[in-house]
Symmetry: C2
Subunit: 133 residues, 2 copies
DNA sequence: TCAATTACGGACTTCATGTATCTATAATAG
DNA sequence: CTATTATAGATACATGAAGTCCGTAATTGA
């Protein structure tokens, strides 16, 4: 069980964009180089973030990706859910109702993790930042 | 990102074994039927639990699987680690040292989840149990 | 208007892993 | 000795991740 590399790319891209806080959009070319990943593939990933409403894109010359309003409240969980989906870590095919003991335990643990990821905002991270790749 | 079905099978098998607390071992045949899974496949999974020291197996007639001493302290995390391995959810190829911001956040969240899973023992679960498949 | 730039989308390939089966072997009870 | 049961290897199959290719649309600037 692992987070996908796509999630890795998405997190780093959001870190870069948040650290930059530019007026000008950042091109996928530039973002891809810093992560040693193909631009077209990264573009696919970033489109998910666009659809999730976290960033916006502009085509054409000098286009690229830029944070949207409310960017200060974007959490790790938001980004992860946008890429990985919101399905839970554990789902069995049977349905033993609310008395199911196993599912209850695992999902409670997952919720603890998500709580942490929800409380950590990208913008908090950028404040005390010295290295950004 | 999901837990494998093998983990599902392992958790349920441990639940069954813990609920039974038998002197006689339970055969894989019986265990497999209750989960609608092939016996040989389940056997492979249970062998991992044997190697991890949680259960013991006896071959031959009336053989099967049985809990080992200290079974009361087996946690969800023990079982999950035995099947999924202990690698962390997130590992990037770069090495930015202890100042790495992203890894720090994700691993801290993972630790919260593991803490929950570590505190939940199978034996606790069995006490207030009415349905076991 | 035209050409360069940039994101978007679909189809596709490749690869790793999970899932599962089959079969042969070894050990044990009766 | 025979039936039973776990173990291990080889193999097959399905699924999803990771990545490429290419055509399309939109926008800027000359
Ligand atoms: S006990 Fe829970 S996890 Fe297990 S089969 Fe029933 S519903 Fe599923
Ligand atoms: S910032 Fe952390 S997670 Fe990102 S590339 Fe550096 S070491 Fe890896």
């Amino acid at each position: 069980m692992k987070y996908s590399k796509a999630t890795d790319y998405a997190l780093h891209t959001m870190l870069f964009l948040t650290a930059a806080t530019p007026q000008k959009p950042m091109g996928v070319q530039q973002l891809a180089e810093r992560q040693s990943v193909s631009p077209t593939y990264l573009s696919k990933i970033l489109t998910k973030l666009v659809k999730a409403g976290m960033i916006e894109s502009t085509t054409g010359v000098n286009g690229g990706y830029r944070l949207k309003r409310d960017w200060e409240n974007i959490s790790f969980l938001d980004i992860i859910h946008a890429i990985e989906g919101t399905a839970s870590l554990f789902d069995c095919s049977f349905e033993h109702g609310p008395d199911c003991p196993i599912q209850k335990v695992v999902l409670a643990a997952e919720e603890k993790m998500e709580e942490q990821l929800r409380n950590q905002k990208m913008s908090d991270l950028v404040r005390n930042l010295n290295i950004v790749n």
